[in-house]
């Protein structure tokens, strides 16, 4: 009985410190302020999404939290370990899935995991057990003895997730974990992540620009130009910064001109066939319908989305960044210098 209760209290104390604390982080590259006093906390077991356009400071932040870069000011704790002063301890508690492939192509699936286990000092018995378990979780048990170069992109990504969990990682960083994958593989990866999160009290910190993936996060932080612009649950962000919009297609150019003139203050965007208007209050749709009901071909009411929150806060669309990740992958393929890898 006593041992039971002490275990519970130990588990409680552990979960208290198992998250991430970020306090006043500053990072400069010459005169460029890549991170401008960024502070936030991530609770243990939370799924936390980082959203921001390219060059916003997301990667810099992630690299500081992973102990690859050191901050100029401020501090960060990973499961209670300082990323600068206790870097080795912090690294034992964090796992990373990098955006660029980082597997050993000439080693087998098993050898890759074994390598990671050894490098992280996982004792032999636990190492073998974890490798088996993780391969099962990401459904790669049948591929155990295959060379990694023979795996598909989606499988490699799954293997990278498994790898990051071979040691006792409490916080898992995922930098664009699903970029370049088809919808089915993406869903699969998220299924594994949710399962693992439940089973292992895992804290997940994810950067992604698939908006539907951000929606499932417990909280979202929006970063731009090194500053934290907003941090909240997706629904709170939507109600605070998002707005409902009305997308209408006028039947002819005269009607189009009339709507544009009448509602000039509410225009969000226009295209050849559509006008998107901001819905300012509940009665707007009704008044709009009575005025133009017979003169519009179609009308769609769109609920606030994180996409519109992002647009409202940063003035940029999330999709803008997609090219870069793909470019990098393409560049990787073009290099093709497998010989020395």
């Amino acid at each position: 009985m006593t041992s039971n209760s002490s275990r519970q209290s130990a588990a409680f104390a552990f979960s208290e410190t198992a998250g991430v604390e970020v306090d006043g982080l500053v990072k400069r590259y010459g005169t460029l302020l890549a991170l401008d006093h960024v502070s936030f906390n991530v609770k243990s077991g939370e799924l936390f999404a980082l959203l921001g356009p390219n060059g916003a400071g997301k990667t810099t932040l992630l690299h500081i939290l992973c102990t690859i870069l050191s901050p100029d000011e401020g501090r960060a704790l990973i499961a209670g370990a300082d990323v600068v002063q206790q870097a080795l301890r912090a690294r034992r508690r964090l796992g990373v899935v990098f955006q660029e492939p980082s597997l050993h192509d000439r080693l087998t699936v098993y050898e890759n995991l074994e390598f990671h286990g050894l490098v992280c000092g996982v004792p032999a018995e636990l190492r073998r057990k974890r490798i088996d378990e993780m391969l099962q979780v990401v459904e790669l048990s049948d591929w155990r003895e295959r060379l990694v170069r023979t795996l598909s992109v989606g499988m490699k990504r799954r293997l990278e997730i498994a790898r990051a969990l071979i040691h006792d990682s409490r916080v898992l960083f995922l930098d664009e974990p699903t970029v370049g994958l088809d919808a089915q593989s993406r869903a699969r990866i998220w299924r594994y992540l949710h399962e693992l999160r439940q089973q292992r009290q895992l804290t997940l910190i994810v950067t992604t620009h698939y908006i539907e993936e951000v929606e499932q996060a417990d909280r979202v932080a929006i970063i731009d130009q090194g500053k934290l612009l907003a941090i909240d649950t997706p629904s709170a962000l939507k109600s605070a910064h998002g707005h409902e919009v009305l997308e209408v297609s006028p039947i002819n150019v005269d009607v189009r001109a009339e709507i544009l003139a009448q509602h000039s203050g509410q225009i969000v965007k226009t295209s050849d066939h559509h006008i998107t208007l901001k819905v300012e209050d509940g009665r707007f749709i009704e008044t709009f319908l009575s005025a133009y009901g017979s003169r519009v071909r179609a009308m769609t009411r769109i609920e606030p989305s994180l996409e519109s929150v992002f647009l409202a806060l940063t003035g940029r669309a999330i999709r803008d960044q997609e090219a870069s990740a793909r470019e990098r992958t393409l560049a990787f393929g073009k290099q093709g210098g497998e010989h020395t890898r």
């Binding site: 992973c66 301890r89 690294r91 034992r92 990373v96 074994e114 992280c120 000092g121 890898r341």
Partner: protein
């Protein structure tokens, strides 16, 4: 989904560190070795290079190696050209493989592996140590591939020669791999291995008294009569000269320099180059 193992609480900090370092150095070493043995191109080079040098170049030049200067036989060379060149071919194989191992640092840096270990609890110096150790092991192996040709080169080898030879090869390989890492650190865009071969390997090799004896008559005065001053000076300044000399002393018992010089210079190279590589690695 079956239940997964619970997280382990931190145990003794020191014990963990020791486990991380031992396991990590072993893992990185093993990765280097496995990777090299799975690279057929590299293995092919390791076999074909000594064959070319010994069986073609060595056999081809063997009759002309007679201490003859401008048509006049001035001294007696106590070794055949094949015997003379054989230890140098070992050094050449080590040179190629060490630099090749170091080139993989560029790939590690660009594509992942380095990042993966940088976020692991391995202390930085041991990451580099494992890497160089692995590269040196592979280079030593490639160097010993040349030993297979000892029969053709008419070099009788005893098992004690092999043991001491392996030691010398490893020492040389460790220094050269570290040197390769230093060079690789300065390369920002990688255009291929050819640059390395032409700019580093071949000049070092040809200026190490590998394909011609510096002093066939075994007198310093004779050297300057036969060769231009600058060439003699370059050869004497090249640290690889003493490594080749050491290997030659080990396998055919012919030294051009003080036998103690070779191991000392090789050990110096290993320590100095690894030290520089380490200092740079920590800074980045």
């Amino acid at each position: 989904m079956s239940a997964i193992s619970p997280l382990r609480e931190d145990d003794n900090e020191f014990a963990t560190l020791v486990r991380v370092i031992c396991g990590g150095v072993f893992a990185i070493w093993l990765r280097e070795v496995k990777r090299a043995f799975r690279d057929r191109g590299q293995l092919f080079g390791g076999f074909s290079r000594p064959i070319m040098w010994v069986v073609i170049m060595g056999v081809g030049l063997n009759p002309y190696f007679r201490g003859e200067v401008y048509g006049e036989v001035r001294f007696v060379v106590p070794y055949t050209y094949l015997q003379f060149i054989f230890p140098a071919v070992i050094a050449l194989n080590i040179l190629y493989t060490s630099v090749q191992a170091a080139v993989s640092v560029i790939w590690d840096r660009e594509f992942g592996f380095l990042r993966e270990v940088l976020v692991s609890p391995m202390p930085r110096p041991f990451i580099l140590f494992g890497k160089v150790l692995g590269g040196a092991t592979v280079a030593m192996f490639h160097g010993s591939l040349a030993l297979v040709l000892s029969y053709f080169a008419d070099v009788p080898i005893s098992s004690s020669d092999i043991l001491s030879g392996l030691g010398l090869m490893f020492l040389l390989a460790f220094g050269l791999t570290s040197l390769g890492v230093i060079i690789a650190n300065r390369i920002r865009s990688f255009e291929g291995f050819g640059v390395f071969s032409n700019a580093v390997i071949l000049p070092l090799y040809f200026c190490s008294s590998s394909v011609f004896p510096l002093d066939p008559a075994l007198t310093a005065a004779q050297t300057r009569v036969v060769y231009p001053d600058w060439l003699v000076r370059v050869v004497e300044l090249n640290p690889l000269t003493y490594a080749v000399d050491s290997l030659r002393g080990n396998f055919i018992h012919f030294y051009q320099f003080d036998p103690r010089l070779g191991p000392v210079i090789m050990a110096g190279m290993a320590v100095l180059f690894f030290g520089i590589a380490l200092a740079e690695f920590r800074r980045n």
